[in-house]
């Protein structure tokens, strides 16, 4: 069906190229959040409140950009606020023994409520956000140039961040410690490390990245702020982490896949393809689920053992 319609292209761009451009554009904020959540869960803490951290980041970035005129300050603000909210989660879960899932929901609602309150005055403000920057030379490669090399700076940063987090987790001693904290904390304690401290850092980093993801959404993609603007992207990120088997690069692929499904609807509409609006709205979720469930069947990685405590199941050895 799509192939048949692909002939009717808009602005000289193939449908597939438009969708892929949109995939990266819309997928990046989710990717940031999923990357952060990967770090957090690898250390043994689930933060279902990622949605709240994203929202906090989106709103803070927008507000700071509006006040200072510089979106980079906005990104700093988003990282700080997202990180702080996640650290609250870490404190309640690690030091106070709160249930991770329930507490995550609280963090989500806290983020939603606070951003609605403090963001209200920015709803109709305009900002001077991030602009796409076409990389000279590379961006003129047909198709690939548009898909990969004509984006905002935060998207370019994310390209580097995926492999960087992979390196951190799997090729550094710090990554070993972090994953060890998520697997069997007592083993780390017996070597004289503090698994609690490692978890605080991991959860904080996770919130920081989710915050930057929110910033990318409000100051680079949407260039506007409205209540609950992330619309569940944080939850999708949490789901992606599991389907991506806690692997940062798979999370990247999953995020773009979801982004592609998000982009498909508007592109089809522009091309006047008659598909039911509700089907289009549901498509991102259905497609992401379907593809990732198929991938997850190959279960190349298991859940960190420490996460089993969250669901009160005995660890599998």
């Amino acid at each position: 069906m799509i192939a048949a319609q692909a002939a009717t292209d808009v602005g000289g761009q193939l449908l597939i190229v438009s969708v892929l451009v949109g995939a990266v554009r819309s997928g990046t904020s989710i990717f940031y959040a999923a990357l952060g959540e990967t770090i957090s869960e690898r250390a043994g803490v689930i933060n279902v409140g990622t949605e709240g951290c994203m929202l906090a980041g989106a709103m803070s970035a927008y507000a700071v950009t509006a006040e200072t005129g510089n979106p980079w300050f906005g990104v700093l603000g988003a990282a700080a606020v997202g990180g702080a909210l996640a650290l609250l989660h870490a404190y309640l879960v690690i030091a106070r023994g709160a249930n991770q899932l329930a507490n995550g929901l609280v963090i989500m609602f806290l983020g939603l409520g606070l951003t609605s309150l403090f963001g209200a005055s920015y709803v109709s403000r305009e900002i001077n956000g991030f602009k796409p920057y076409a990389i000279p030379g590379l961006s003129s490669i047909p198709a690939v140039g548009d898909i990969l090399f004509n984006h905002d700076p935060l998207t370019y940063l994310s390209f580097a961040l995926g492999p960087a987090v992979w390196f951190l987790l799997f090729r550094t001693r710090w990554g070993l410690l972090l994953r060890g904290a998520g697997e069997r904390a007592p083993v780390l304690s017996s070597y004289g490390y503090s698994p609690e401290r490692i978890r605080y850092i991991a959860v904080g980093l996770g919130g920081l990245l989710a915050g930057i993801g929110g910033a990318q959404l409000s100051t680079a993609v949407a260039l506007t702020w409205f209540e609950n603007m992330t619309q569940g992207r944080g939850f999708i990120a949490v789901a992606l982490v599991i389907f991506a088997s806690w692997h940062p690069l798979w999370a990247m692929g999953g995020a773009y896949l979801f982004g592609a499904a998000l982009a498909l609807g508007p592109e089809l509409q522009v091309r006047n393809v008659g598909v039911n609006q509700f089907v289009l709205d549901a498509l991102p979720y259905v497609m992401t689920l379907a593809v990732l469930v198929v991938l997850a069947k190959r279960s190349f990685q298991r859940a960190p053992e420490g996460l089993a405590e969250v669901f009160d199941a005995p660890p599998v050895s």
Binding site: F170, R171, T172, R173, W174, G175, L176, L177, R179, G180, E183, R184, P186, V187, L188, S190, Y191, G192, R302, P304, E305, A313, P314, V316, S317
Partner: protein
């Protein structure tokens, strides 16, 4: 970060200096003297076996050497110099390493990742290839074959133990303390471990092995020391100069009578006490924990159950006693089918169980000893609407005399009792009942030698009385001594049923590890 080596001297043990020496070491926990005035030394190039019963203070002494506990009196000398060991890190820095019974490895990590994690320092990068090469080199030096890329999850217990030893050595240990290393191993794996220990000795390293098995001590130890009730009753003895009886009475404090050798044949006319037919059972994780088990325990017979830990023993225990639903198949107790998996139904058919973990499965912590024993016998103690407690106390006192496991004072609350004392209560309760089928899971766990022997006598007494006994144990010696036949489980399958007189430990070990008979 290569393995610390010392020059092996010509006469290994006599002239080597002591790596570690303790003088007058005392550690108290409240009123309990865990170790009192202990003198002990370990020389380089020797394997030193530390013998003693459960609770004799072996683990306490080793934790003092490893800096987990600090002594109340006495001193620890390392290389002839007095040291304070405030933490395991202090001990490690002095070259003392410990391999705990519960191995401290991360199953989801590779061998290399686990070892990299344990090595001090090493910079920011995890240099996988460098660590893998170090492991291969260190392994080759000791004659261990270890695959650094293997996931620990995929390794057998014996292989994990060797990784753990390598880990300790690679962080610079010259003295390795092994806490009951053989208790979880099949005989073949014990041989592998001993080969490894011998190569450590050949490198001039010192090894302390904690055990209560005499034949293992004889197989590996250059010297041995014996702890009893926190006191060193023999220190640095040459094993060739003492016989087993002397060692046992040193450990226990008195002579332990041998088990009766004469046993009556099971009566032929009685129906089988237990018949398990085509039973599949699911484990806690939904996996199949028992596959197509067919097993018959005659009346008046002890059927031992052997297997590496986690081979389906717990699921078998629970299935037979109606504590776990069967997926397929059926179970007959004294020729009557257990209609549905229900502990009450099994009990009504005359099945009695001694659980693996009584503290979590079978006691009400708030009740006292008398109340526990009355609980299983309430109907006979009824008096009007209440319970005849005077009679209950009498009966319990009588039972305690009869069974002879020396329970604690009968008004003590079970929550305050040690594991061994809870086990005595459980055993007294189980042996006090006439039954057609007794299912005993690790009945002698946590008991001293004398009580273990009494428990074994009681198991045989049930057999003589005509009960079928299903006897699950991890101690092959005990299984061989008590069982008429031994069913060997491997990975949820029945690997074979053997008769102790006809096969040796190695044949059973082969089945435990999944080989054929």
């Amino acid at each position: 970060m290569s393995i610390a080596t010392l020059e092996p001297s010509a006469d290994r043990t006599k002239q080597s200096p002591s790596i570690i020496e303790v003088r007058g070491l005392t550690k108290r926990f409240g009123d309990l003297v865990a170790t009192g005035d202990v003198d002990f030394d370990v020389r380089s190039g020797e394997v030193h076996s530390l013998l003693g019963e459960n609770g004799a203070g072996k683990s306490t002494l080793m934790k003092l050497l490893y800096g987990v506990y600090q002594p109340d009196a006495g001193e620890i000398l390392v290389d002839g110099v007095v040291h304070r060991l405030d933490s395991p890190a202090d001990a490690r820095a002095l070259g003392i390493g410990m391999v705990f019974q519960d191995l401290r490895l991360i199953p989801a990590f590779t061998v290399a990742e686990n070892i990299a994690l344990s090595l001090p320092g090493g910079g920011f990068r995890y240099r996988r290839q460098a660590v893998e090469r170090q492991i291969l080199d260190a392994g080759a030096e000791l004659g261990f074959s270890v695959d650094p890329k293997a996931l620990v999850r995929h390794l057998s217990i014996g292989e994990r133990q060797r990784v753990e030893i390598l880990k300790v050595l690679m962080s610079g240990a010259r003295l390795v303390i092994l806490d009951e290393p053989t208790s979880v191993l099949a005989p073949q794996e014990v041989d592998g471990l001993f080969t490894a220990i011998r190569s450590l000795r050949a490198k001039g390293l010192a090894v302390v092995i904690i055990t209560h098995k005499l034949h293992e001590t004889r197989a590996i130890a250059d010297r041995l020391s014996i702890l009893r009730a926190g006191r060193m009753v023999g220190s640095g003895i040459d094993p060739t100069t003492v016989d087993d009886r002397a060692l046992i009475s040193a450990m226990v404090g008195r002579e332990v009578p041998p088990l009766p050798v004469e046993r009556s044949d099971p009566p032929a006319d009685r129906p089988a006490a237990l018949r398990v037919t085509g039973v599949h059972v699911r484990g806690d994780g939904g996996n199949t924990a028992l596959h197509d088990i067919h097993l018959e325990v005659k009346a008046g017979e002890v059927m031992g159950v052997a297997g590496v830990a986690g081979s389906g023993q717990r699921e078998l225990y629970e299935a037979v006693l109606g504590l776990r639903p069967l997926h397929t198949g059926d179970i007959h107790i004294a020729a009557v089918e257990m209609a549905k998996s229900d502990p009450g139904a099994a009990l009504a058919l005359g099945a009695v169980g001694i659980p693996e973990d009584p503290i979590s499965d079978a006691v009400v912590p708030g009740l006292d000893v008398t109340e526990h024993l009355a609980l299983s016998n309430l109907s006979s103690l009824r008096k009007g609407l209440g319970i005849d407690w005077a009679r209950a106390r009498e009966l319990v006192a009588e039972l305690d005399r009869q069974i002879g496991l020396r329970m604690v004072a009968h008004d003590r609350t079970v929550a305050d009792l040690s594991g061994g004392n809870v086990q005595r209560v459980m055993l007294t309760r189980a042996f006090g009942v006439d039954c057609t089928l007794l299912v005993a899971a690790y009945p002698s766990r946590g008991l001293d030698v004398a009580t273990t022997r009494r428990t074994q006598e009681l198991l045989l007494a049930q057999r003589e009385a005509g009960a079928g006994v299903l006897f699950i144990s991890e101690d092959l010696d005990e299984l061989m001594e008590l069982s008429d036949q031994i069913a060997v489980l491997h990975n949820g399958h029945l690997a074979g049923v053997v008769t102790p007189g006809e096969v040796d430990r190695y044949a059973i070990g082969q089945l435990m590890l999944g080989g054929s008979e």
